[in-house]
């Protein structure tokens, strides 16, 4: 990672002297303890921008990934022969390491958050696509047969029957994608894309650990919060699932 850094992809060589300025907490930093709460209290403001950047990275990548994967899944649902090539295509994108993806994109999109978002979106596609197609495939055939038999058109069946019934699985896919993207977006720093990764990389250049722990914790909390929001949304959108459990 440091090699990548010295390649000039990012700016971590010059460590800000203020990083070591301890304004209150005695000799926690001198002793290099695992975690210095006093330092956090004094420096929390340096995490605000990276956190916001991180949110934008994750939000854009998941939203773009969802839109593209959704369109692909609907196409593959209408034309079954597309299922395999789409699965293979998104699978390849999924397996390309994000770091290599940054380098591949550099000549085209340059350094910055766009490159990072494209790479993260490509990573997402497979997870979301797979879940949407599985969700659509798991709709009971008797339900779609009845829908067709009472006069719903194919697009009405899709909108009124198949998508609502596939929703729990689609949400499940979004949850996995979001949580993985929160973690993966810390690498955006190598594309000069900002985010919490900047603080982690800054912290990793020195022996001082508190900074890394704080940045990492913010990412973990962000993942948990996103996951919780999606979980709740899923429950609200599928009330029939809850009632089933009661009866």
């Amino acid at each position: 990672m440091i090699e990548a850094a010295s390649n000039g992809m990012m700016r971590v060589g010059a460590i800000d002297q203020s990083f070591f300025t301890d304004r209150s907490s005695g000799n926690c930093i001198q002793d290099n303890k695992l975690f210095c709460p006093g330092w956090v209290a004094d420096n929390y403001d340096r995490y605000v921008d990276p956190t916001l950047q991180h949110l934008v990275l994750v939000g854009s990548a998941v939203a773009a990934g969802f839109l593209i994967a959704f369109a692909l899944a609907i196409l593959a649902h209408r034309h079954r022969f597309l299922q395999t090539p789409f699965l293979a295509g998104t699978g390849i994108l999924y397996t390309i390491p994000s770091i290599s993806f940054f380098f591949l994109l550099l000549p085209i999109t340059g350094r910055g958050s766009l490159t990072a978002i494209i790479a993260l979106t490509a990573f997402n596609l497979q997870i979301i696509f797979r879940n949407i197609t599985t969700g659509l495939r798991n709709v009971p055939p008797d339900v779609t047969e009845a829908a067709r038999g009472i006069g719903l058109t194919p697009s009405q069946i899709l909108r009124q029957v198949e998508l609502p019934l596939a929703m729990p699985e689609i949400i499940a896919g979004l949850r996995i994608a979001t949580v993985s993207t929160v973690a993966l977006a810390t690498l955006a720093v190598f594309a000069n894309g900002g985010g919490l990764g900047t603080e982690i990389v800054t912290g990793s250049n020195i022996t001082f650990k508190t900074g890394i722990i704080v940045a990492g914790s913010i990412a973990v909390i962000m993942a948990i919060v996103f996951d919780g929001i999606l979980l709740l949304t899923g429950k609200l959108l599928a009330p029939w699932k809850r009632k089933q459990a009661i009866s």
């Binding site: 008797d142 009845a146 038999g149 006069g151 058109t153 009124q160 019934l165 029939w240 089933q244 009866s247």
Partner: protein, 389 residues
């Protein structure tokens, strides 16, 4: 053809043929018959006889290869299949309710597609819930919260939502346990007596076909029509060996389910009331069809059979040696009447009306005479009037 203007339409198959792509023979071959408006026509046959294919060609969930199907004189081939299907009720064995929609929303699916407003839809849902005998509170539940029988009733209600002139039912009660199936069949016959839809009903069960059908189309392999007849004709005069075999060796007995006890010529027994002179009763017994006298009350309600010992005195006693049991309800079917006689081991049983008054005496001999006669074919009942047991 709008749902409002027509309550039922005749359905006519004209040389309908279906061959699936790549198949070596026809699934349905040159099928022609006509179901008059307001009747139930059951398509019955062994599996693979094309009965479901024939049914599905009516709403074009399967497209026919050649021939035509006319509903109220109009070809189903005209126009958009989805619009055609909204005018045809459709009930399938697996029910296929939408799990994510409440019962009311399920019933209101087609009305919503047709652009009814919210009040109309909820009023119609409530009306249909009432019709199928479900409490209005079920409207807000989800299908998974209902029993199988309740779900199937909702399936029927959904099919009736826009009052379609034709209903297609594909083994609608096939997945229900026997007790509930019989109940659902009876409920549907009661509904049909009121609604008088033209119904095409697929089953593989001959007994269900005979019970439900005004007409029965027996299909054999390859979708060829083996016989198209009323249930009675089917039982009396099977067209060929296939039908005879399919209807079963007990087809004579099945006819007993087509006849009510009150519709056969019952025997009469000498009657006596307590305190009557015994002598004239003794004389009457010697000459009567039923060799025992019945003790009745002032309302003609049977109290018991009078034995020779009961009649040996001067007057008829108030408490005879044997009771009048078993007694048979005049509205029950002949099959059940016979079963009652056989179970109790008696040769005769008084038949009573709804108020318990004697209408005659049923004997095993009456039943066997009925089976030997052609009476069954003359006294055919339509499905709606047919007794529900």
């Amino acid at each position: 053809m709008t749902a409002e203007s027509v309550s039922a339409s005749p359905v006519r198959f004209e040389a309908v043929t279906k061959r699936y792509p790549g198949a070596h023979s026809d699934a349905v071959e040159n099928l022609s018959f006509e179901v008059p408006a307001g009747e139930i026509c059951v398509l019955v046959g062994p599996s693979g006889c094309g009965k479901t294919t024939a049914l599905r060609m009516v709403n074009r969930t399967v497209e026919m290869t050649s021939g035509d199907i006319l509903i109220g004189g109009r070809s189903v081939r005209e126009g958009d299949p989805a619009r055609l299907r909204r005018e045809i009720g459709y009930v399938i064995q697996q029910i296929g309710l939408f799990p994510h929609r409440t019962i009311s929303q399920n019933i209101g699916t087609v009305p919503a597609l047709l652009g009814w407003d919210k009040e109309e839809i909820s009023a119609r849902s409530a009306e249909l819930l009432d019709l199928i005998g479900l409490d209005p509170e079920y409207g807000d539940r989800y299908p998974a919260q209902l029993s199988g029988g309740q779900q199937q009733r909702v399936g029927v209600a959904r099919a009736l939502s826009v009052d379609p002139p034709v209903m297609l039912m594909d083994e609608p009660f096939g997945a229900i346990d026997p007790i509930n199936r019989s109940r659902l069949q009876n409920e549907f016959l009661r509904l049909q007596a009121e609604l008088r839809k033209t119904v095409l009903f697929v089953t593989h069960d001959v007994d269900e076909a005979i019970k439900m059908g005004d007409r029965v189309a027996v299909l054999k392999k390859g979708g060829r029509l083996a016989q198209f007849a009323t249930p009675t004709e089917l039982l009396m005069e099977p067209a060929d060996d296939f039908v005879e075999d399919f209807v079963g060796a007990d087809r004579a007995l099945k006819r007993l389910a087509l006849m009510r006890v009150r519709d056969v010529d019952l025997w009469t027994a000498p009657l006596a009331q307590a305190g009557d002179q015994a002598e004239p009763v003794r004389t009457a017994v010697a000459a009567a069809e039923v060799p025992y006298a019945l003790l009745v009350d002032g309302e003609n309600r049977p109290l018991g059979w009078l034995s020779d010992r009961d009649l040996s005195g001067e007057k008829v006693p108030a408490t005879p040696d044997s009771t009048a049991d078993p007694m048979i309800d005049a509205d029950s079917v002949l099959r059940d009447g016979l079963a009652t006689l056989l179970q109790s081991g008696s040769l005769y049983a008084p038949v009573i009306d709804a108020r318990g008054r004697l209408t005659g005496v049923l004997s095993v001999e009456i039943v066997s005479d009925f089976l030997a006669s052609d009476e069954a074919s003359e006294s055919e009942l339509s499905a709606a009037e047919r007794p529900h047991d």
